[in-house]
């Protein structure tokens, strides 16, 4: 038990660190995947089987695939020098912030008067974390969030399509890809007379 906890959590944290630290976004994605899997296992330790499964399937599976595609399409945005161009000052500042907040949260979590925090948790019902229980809750007490979540997905779909998909509303009279393939910084007479696109010569 202990062992598993530490194993999984260390992997998860390592993954998190990887996400933050690795320069190539592609690796960051992979780091996140490992992190997510480890996290799912931690969920299991918390008896949340359904959530854990959902985590792996939905997240580490579907979402990350989407990620990989986009990264592949957009390309390795973070060239090494980019990261380094985040000045050391900024980085240290950020880390200090992070630590400070961590300390605060730690105080909050450990300093609570709540005894239960230091226990293994309450006595559990037999079907705790089972799909049955989840489903029941979703269709009764949390029907509303559940239904609304579906709308969230709808929104996401519409948004993704609208933004990344076809160039909306322009209509057939306007060929879509002319300007995406056209090399940067051509097209206006402004540029013809030697202005860059930001308008400054």
């Amino acid at each position: 038990m202990w062992f598993f906890f530490f194993l999984f959590s260390i992997v998860a944290l390592a993954g998190a660190v990887g996400v933050v630290a690795l320069r190539n976004p592609f690796y960051s994605v992979l780091a996140l995947v490992t992190h997510l899997i480890a996290l799912a296992l931690l969920f299991l330790l918390l008896e949340a089987q359904f959530v854990a499964v959902a985590q792996i399937v939905v997240y580490a599976g579907a979402v990350m695939v989407l990620y990989v595609f986009v990264v592949a399409y957009v390309g390795g945005g973070d060239q090494p020098e980019l990261l380094s161009r985040v000045s050391a000052k900024q980085r240290t500042l950020a880390v200090v912030f992070g630590l400070a907040i961590f300390v605060e949260l730690a105080i909050a979590l450990l300093g609570t008067a709540l005894k239960a925090v230091d226990t293994h948790g309450a006595k559990l019902a037999t079907d705790y974390g089972s799909p049955a229980q989840i489903g029941d809750l979703l269709l009764t007490r949390f029907l509303l969030p559940f239904e609304l979540a579906s709308f969230l997905l709808l929104v996401a779909a519409v948004g993704a399509v609208g933004l990344a998909g076809r160039r909306g509303g322009v209509g057939p009279d306007h060929e879509v890809f002319t300007d995406t393939v056209r090399p940067q910084g051509t097209g206006t007479m402004a540029e013809g007379v030697g202005r860059r696109r930001d308008g400054h010569p």
Partner: protein
């Protein structure tokens, strides 16, 4: 989905009470489908019409349900005067937004169906947020509000600014939501309940109102809420997003989001976390003061009207907080009252901005208003009224609103907050009045839109390049150079409303009366 529910041993669902929300959600679906219609005319005229109908129905249902006060779907939401007011205001904002977006370029680029259905969904999200009686519902509502707005902000995909705004909003917004989520988690952890009533009772029972974890949770949630209502120091996304987003979207969200966020704030803190009143009050006071100062000070000397209005909206949010901080029923009513007033003035201002964006090529620069007093007195008059109202000058609704806020502050023993409001208003004069001055002080009016690149004065190949299109933020593709009748009309209506409610304010008072009824405030 109704069939599903029918079979499941679902909870009792009070359809009537839910009707406003359902109207919005349903409309969003219908609009989305309608957007797929082939005929361009159907797309570009029918869809907005349907949207208007949707909002209209929502308003109708609200009026129908005006006096209900109940929790629906197992304490998921509370349909009461507060949430119904929110529905009303949001829907009005939605209608205005729709009219302003009718012929906007943004709607065309992302396709009308998508645009307007997202508008409706976000409205639904606001309603949920305002009505939520449960942390989970609250969170969902928040996202349901935010996600569509992220998209809408970016919906002018040809414009770098629009996309930048969208991305900034998305990232910072998600940080906010994540923070809020963590806060909710802690609250849930400390009380073991997700529904407001449960939280309140648990906290009271366990005497947790000064527990570290509980309070930290409260703190993080406050950060999230403050973020959504763009309060300092969590305001920084506001100016950029407001400036970058398509103006109709800016107009819509500048008011609607506030309505929802404030309703949610009031409900969460007064109902669920009311026990910790003494703890969170000073914090909110600090935030209020900071917002009033930052907002007013930041708006000084801005040349972009949208940016100026963004900062001013930060300040206005600060004013609104005062009414909520004092924690009296009167205060809450004052907040709702001021929201209504703010809605009129702000939307009026934005519609004038849009009109000028379409008529001149000065975009939303203040120079676009030069000589407006001569060239089109109606718009100038509306803008004047809007500015005066925002500044809180008598005979405009804004004055009554401030009056109301201040008197609630004094009544709650927080006179100093009233003075802060006034100091803020003093500063605000320094950026509201110049707008009026540019309109009326004569000078050669801003030139009408031409197809020339304002940066070079050279003609641009129409539509040949995104740069060229960027020059015409709000130009309808079909080359209409006019503000559009609907914009002028709605502007006029809003201006008149600002004036009328400044002279005959009692109706608004009757409207917001009892907004705090279900919050258990004195």
């Amino acid at each position: 989905m109704t069939s599903v529910l029918a079979t499941a041993k679902g909870p009792y669902v009070d359809w009537a009470a839910l009707s406003p929300l359902l109207a919005l959600l349903g409309a969003s679906l219908i609009v989305l489908v309608a957007g797929l219609l082939g005929a361009r005319g159907a797309r570009e005229q029918g869809v907005p019409l349907l949207t208007l109908v949707g909002f209209g129905v929502a308003i109708g249902c609200t009026i129908w349900q005006w006096d209900t006060q109940k929790n629906v779907i197992s304490r998921g939401m509370s349909i009461d005067r507060l949430s119904l007011l929110a529905v009303l205001l949001v829907s009005v904002a939605g209608i205005v937004g729709t009219l302003l977006a009718w012929r906007s370029r943004a709607a065309k680029e992302i396709a009308h169906g998508e645009f307007f259905s997202l508008l409706l969904v976000s409205a639904a999200g606001m309603v949920v947020l305002a009505a939520a009686e449960n942390l989970i519902t609250t969170f969902v509502g928040l996202e349901l509000l935010s996600l569509p707005l992220y998209i809408l902000c970016a919906s002018r995909m040809r414009s770098e600014r629009s996309l930048e705004a969208g991305l900034k909003y998305l990232i910072i917004g998600s940080v906010g939501s994540a923070t809020m989520l963590y806060g909710f988690a802690l609250i849930y952890g400390a009380t073991g309940a997700t529904d407001y009533a449960g939280i309140a009772s648990a906290a009271a029972k366990a005497g947790f109102n000064d527990d570290v974890m509980f309070l930290t949770g409260v703190g993080l949630s406050i950060v999230g809420l403050a973020f959504k209502s763009s309060l300092a120091p969590f305001h920084q996304w506001t100016p950029d997003v407001y400036e970058g987003a398509p103006t109709p979207v800016t107009a819509y969200m500048s008011v609607a989001t506030k309505v929802a966020a404030f309703a949610a704030t009031i409900r969460l803190l007064d109902v669920a976390l009311g026990g910790a009143f003494a703890d969170w009050k000073p914090l909110w006071e600090a935030i209020a003061v900071a917002s009033i100062l930052v907002g007013n000070v930041g708006a000084l000397g801005q040349t972009s009207l949208k940016r100026m209005l963004a900062y001013s909206s930060i300040a206005q949010a600060g004013y609104l907080l005062v009414g909520f901080i004092v924690g009296t029923a009167g205060g809450v009513e004052a907040v709702m009252y001021y929201l209504a007033v703010y809605l009129f003035a702000n939307l009026a201002a934005f519609s004038v901005v849009i009109a000028r964006e379409r008529e001149t090529d000065r975009e939303d620069d203040i120079a676009a208003l030069r000589g407006l007093g001569t060239s089109s007195p109606v718009l100038a008059g509306v803008m004047t009224l809007a500015m005066l109202s925002l500044a809180g000058i008598p005979a405009t609704a804004g004055f009554i609103g401030k009056f109301n806020l201040i008197s609630s502050a004094v009544d709650g023993g927080e006179t100093w907050l009233g003075i802060v409001i006034v100091i803020g208003s003093m500063i605000s004069l320094a950026y509201y009045l110049p707008v009026i001055a540019t309109m009326w002080a004569g000078g050669d009016p801003a030139p009408a839109r031409s197809r020339e690149d304002p940066r070079t004065g050279l003609p641009v190949l129409a539509g040949a390049s995104p740069e060229a299109d960027e020059l015409s933020i709000e130009e309808p593709l079909d080359g209409i150079r006019a503000a559009g009748i609907e914009v002028t009309v709605i502007a006029a209506i809003l201006g008149v409303a600002t004036l009328v409610f400044g002279i005959v304010p009692q109706p608004l008072f009757d409207l917001v009366d009892g907004a705090a009824r279900s919050l258990g405030l004195s």
